[in-house]
Symmetry: C2
Subunit: 341 residues, 2 copies
């Protein structure tokens, strides 16, 4: 059954996150805020869904390098990446003024409601992100130390964060360097970073890591293309975000890049009516979305995704990569390229 | 000449920060934003003043543990603490809606002006803080690794940040747990944390660190008391912040704590006219400040500071502490307790 291993990783990661955050809640209540507002906000978002994709990537890379099927060895580091994700989502959602995430309110919206004051709620959200970042470091250090690989792992973890921030800057400034932005913002900490960290935990040398990057680089771009496709054409019930959100927000993404390349002037004017307009109606969004389908924009982005997926698959032929890791990596690439949320 | 060593540390730290940030600017311009907006904002604030007190504490603790006078050994870690400070100041200033810092505009104010959009400017400022945090980790790791003490140092560095965030939460919620808040928010990363990290870099065991904390704990509180005194009674030209800012902002601090304890009802009403009122006039602030002097509030806070200072001095009698470190620590405690900015 494809992806069965992801379920067991997911439940192990959830259990670790749960026990870790309970510990931290106790510490915060004793040291700081007895209501533990920040830890509760972190817990709420972290435990409300999340695909746990990054821990699965860490596990698969570790397995492909060591030839072992050892979930224990990657739990803390996997949980660390989920907390890093929590930190980044909280800050990003505030920057993007998004109100929904994982089928519930974003953290800044929930906190502003709780304290009855927008700026205080926003400030608490930024602090919750800052706190989640220290938790991510904590679990990274614990996991890497237990594996005897602290020194090797730590730079990759940090570098990944530096890239994410630079990518996020390009994103909020609506940079037209869309592919660079996506590689920095998403590719780095969704695919390349977790692959590298999992491989380093398993003792990979730099040659083997370079080979894994030939798998991770195209797959990271494919992940983001799928994200962009879902952000425009996806089912809000599955994605947990409002439909057409990327269009309404005026997000420069792979769909818009393709639209700029290939649409006629009159087709573009249909897009212009909704792009970056918070007040666009559902009907107008529907018309624009349908036009992107009819004009072949969607199909061309899907085709590019398929090419990248194929490129990633080919990289798995490296004979130094071991089972069951190689199969796990293959299953993950299918999941990443074909997910519906 | 007391404090001469601080000048040489300051110039070494400034040089290291300067070269490190130039490297990072180059990386950011190549990878992300060619204008390097975030790195420039970080550089601007980091290089515009700053007492470099924390690096001096790291150096003195290292010297007290090793008996060596080795500035080289602590430069990267010291510079790391300055970048951590940059990160925290950027986020705090936005939360506090402060417009001045170190005699210039705060980062969110400068960036909002630059891009002509408040929310985008605020978002870029939060990102600049996030980026500075990754730089702080980078230099910490480089410095600790060079000293062969990565494993020992890393937890202290992380723990300190966790405490700072919990303390900042208490601060922005105007918690009445003022001493707890100040110990978490300021004591941790201004005195206790740098002492501990410097000592760990020098190879201290946990007993010796516990002994250094008997010096650092009261001194951390003393640092904050001086900060509170300067925030109410200080000269804006020296502090680089608006006079009476803490009163106007409605900041719960040691002055207010003492005022609550000892003022009469009519005296308190003078305070109430300015406390937390952005529209309080300079005259009203002057009257309230003078009342705090005449009623002995200022003198009682000064007396408590003197007691804490004395307590810290006594802790330096531990015979395991070595020269020239012990003298350096003593000079720093004088500077911390008596500074005018």
């Amino acid at each position: 059954m494809p992806g069965a291993f992801i379920k067991s990783i997911r439940s192990r990661i959830d259990a670790r996150l749960s026990s870790y955050l309970a510990e931290k809640r106790e510490f915060a209540a004793r040291m700081g805020d007895s209501r533990a507002t920040l830890v509760d906000a972190i817990t709420e978002l972290t435990m409300r869904g999340g695909k746990r994709l990054r821990p699965a990537v860490v596990y698969a890379a570790h397995s492909a390098v060591t030839g072992r099927d050892d979930i224990d060895a990657v739990i803390d580091v996997g949980a660390s990446l989920e907390l890093l994700q929590t930190y980044l989502l909280i800050h990003d959602d505030w920057m993007d003024e998004d109100s929904e995430r994982r089928g519930g309110p974003t953290v800044h919206v929930a906190l502003a409601r709780e304290v009855g004051n927008a700026h205080l709620g926003n400030s608490l959200a930024i602090l919750a992100g800052d706190l989640a970042s220290t938790y991510a470091w904590d679990l990274l250090v614990q996991g890497a130390r237990a594996a005897g690989r602290l020194d090797e792992t730590i730079d990759a973890f940090r570098q990944m964060q530096e890239e994410v921030v630079l990518g996020q800057e390009l994103d909020i400034r609506a940079s037209l360097a869309v592919e660079r932005m996506q590689d920095l913002k998403t590719g780095s900490y969704t695919v390349r970073g977790p692959l590298q960290i999992g491989a380093l935990l398993g003792g990979a040398d730099s040659d083997l890591i370079a080979s894994l990057m030939k798998f991770g680089q195209p797959l990271g771009v494919a992940f983001q293309l799928r994200d962009d496709l879902l952000g425009t054409f996806g089912d809000p019930k599955a994605t947990g975000k409002g439909r057409g959100g990327d269009l309404r927000k005026g997000r420069q993404n792979a769909i818009m890049l393709e639209a700029h390349r290939s649409l006629s002037r009159s087709q573009r004017s249909v897009l212009d009516r909704v792009f970056g307009r918070a007040d666009a109606t559902t009907d107008e969004l529907e018309v624009a979305t349908q036009m992107l389908i009819d004009s072949g924009v969607q199909a061309r982005v899907e085709a590019r995704l398929a090419t990248l997926f194929h490129e990633a698959e080919l990289a798995l032929a490296d004979p130094r990569l071991k089972e069951p890791g190689t199969s796990r990596l293959r299953e993950l690439s299918v999941l990443i390229a074909q997910r519906d949320r």
